[in-house]
Symmetry: D2
Subunit: 147 residues, 4 copies
């Protein structure tokens, strides 16, 4: 796929994500959409935190859910198929004490009916990116043309 032919796909995915009510509520940003790789980010605000002042696990899971599904959606034939999250596992590996979360989701195995996607979430703490979560997701491909 040439870069040029992917541009409208990237724009459509970004527009879909940024148009979600929940995305606007949490204030997330789609940093980049490439074939098989989606990056999203979220800046610290008091309403994204839990009681100890860390980013809430739910905010981290929101990024993982959206970025992994969008990464899978970037490698399908969008004319005939759509994607939906089947499941994911997330490990929270360090406290998110910093000022910005960035989630990078990358397809490890595209498939006809299921796509497997890995994600890593980093928190910018004192200017350095620190790994705070790791995830592994299964995204289902739906046939838009199925009766």
């Amino acid at each position: 796929m040439t870069d040029a032919s992917f541009q409208p796909i990237a724009a459509a995915i970004k527009a879909t994500l940024e148009g979600q009510g929940f995305t606007r509520l949490v204030g997330a940003e789609v940093v980049s959409v490439e074939p098989g790789v989606v990056v999203m980010a979220l800046d610290r605000r008091p309403e994204l935190l839990q009681q100890a002042g860390l980013f809430h696990g739910g905010a981290i899971a929101y990024l993982v859910d959206n970025a992994t599904t969008a990464a899978a959606g970037s490698v399908i034939d969008r004319a005939t198929r759509s994607v939906i999250t089947a499941e994911y596992k997330i490990n929270l590996v360090a406290p998110s004490t910093g000022d910005r979360l960035t989630c990078r989701a990358e397809v490890v195995k595209p498939g006809r009916s299921l796509t497997v996607v890995e994600a890593k979430v980093f928190c910018r703490i004192d200017g350095a990116e620190k790994l705070v979560a790791v995830a592994l997701a299964t995204i289902a491909n739906l046939d838009r043309t199925a009766s």
Copy 2:
């Protein structure tokens, strides 16, 4: 543990959850806290949805994250220990088209350092509770007194 002795613990857990910035942002409610079982709920609002009008997966994951961790927290000695989410897996099993999500988290195995918790999320659709997600979580117990 008698019901009476658990009341202050339940109240403390409820206050912690409801005081989180993210909980106030999404507008979740702590329905009940019993030893080993926590129920949380979330009513439909446009800002909790994704592009197809379903509850966003991130909102469902938020409930799972909070309710499983709180359930684990309800069975520890809170004077000496605290809880933190280590990891969880979530399966989204049906579309959340309804007007209210309810997540019930229940401890399946308390442990000295790790507690395993199951969760089920139901969506009220046309008045009936339908299973929309299933989760399995590992919650770590931290020693408050450790140096």
Copy 3:
């Protein structure tokens, strides 16, 4: 489905499982096959253990893999479809010090393309059944008639 009509299905599933090379190697037994529920078991032998004398995690995972997939296979139309394990998560929650493992897998949500199955593994220790593992699996349904 009447009990009588399910008998040949149960027999076919049991025969398939017990005919696997790996099942014969580990020496597992199919205890029962009912619609949506499969029970398998494994008796202690030195070749199923790890270095501390516990049942090896791989033996426990073998039971979970087979029993969850078979449970999903018990609720599909076997004339047109077959099942394959997509993924599972397993928590090992207590040491398997006893003399027999029993895994009970139960469908929580059958679906057109994916079936979600829970499993619990018990170890018989001094005559009592103790929970030693909990799992959550996603099984894919394949269309046998697809080109």
Copy 4:
């Protein structure tokens, strides 16, 4: 850690794995042990297969369980601590039709009480290594000196 100082640790880990009853039963091989990375392999034999002639999922899970736990064990202070599998998730992403499985497990985040490890399993099919499984594991560190 110098290469020289790690040699006895690698040898001890390899000896422990290869001495397990289950490892001898399945016939697995410890290919290499480096700090944070363990590679294990398994050659095709009829008794490692399922009914369609693929490597059984249980054999793949055995490799993941052992290699991830050993990788976590390679980064702890073995004088005072030991490791035990807490949980893992495994995605089977392609059929294992080939003649040899190789599992590479790598620590992504060592921790004081929990270590998170990723694993990828490849199958050699017609001479080429093909990805057949991806896993994400949580390994608990136990204090040998705890009462």
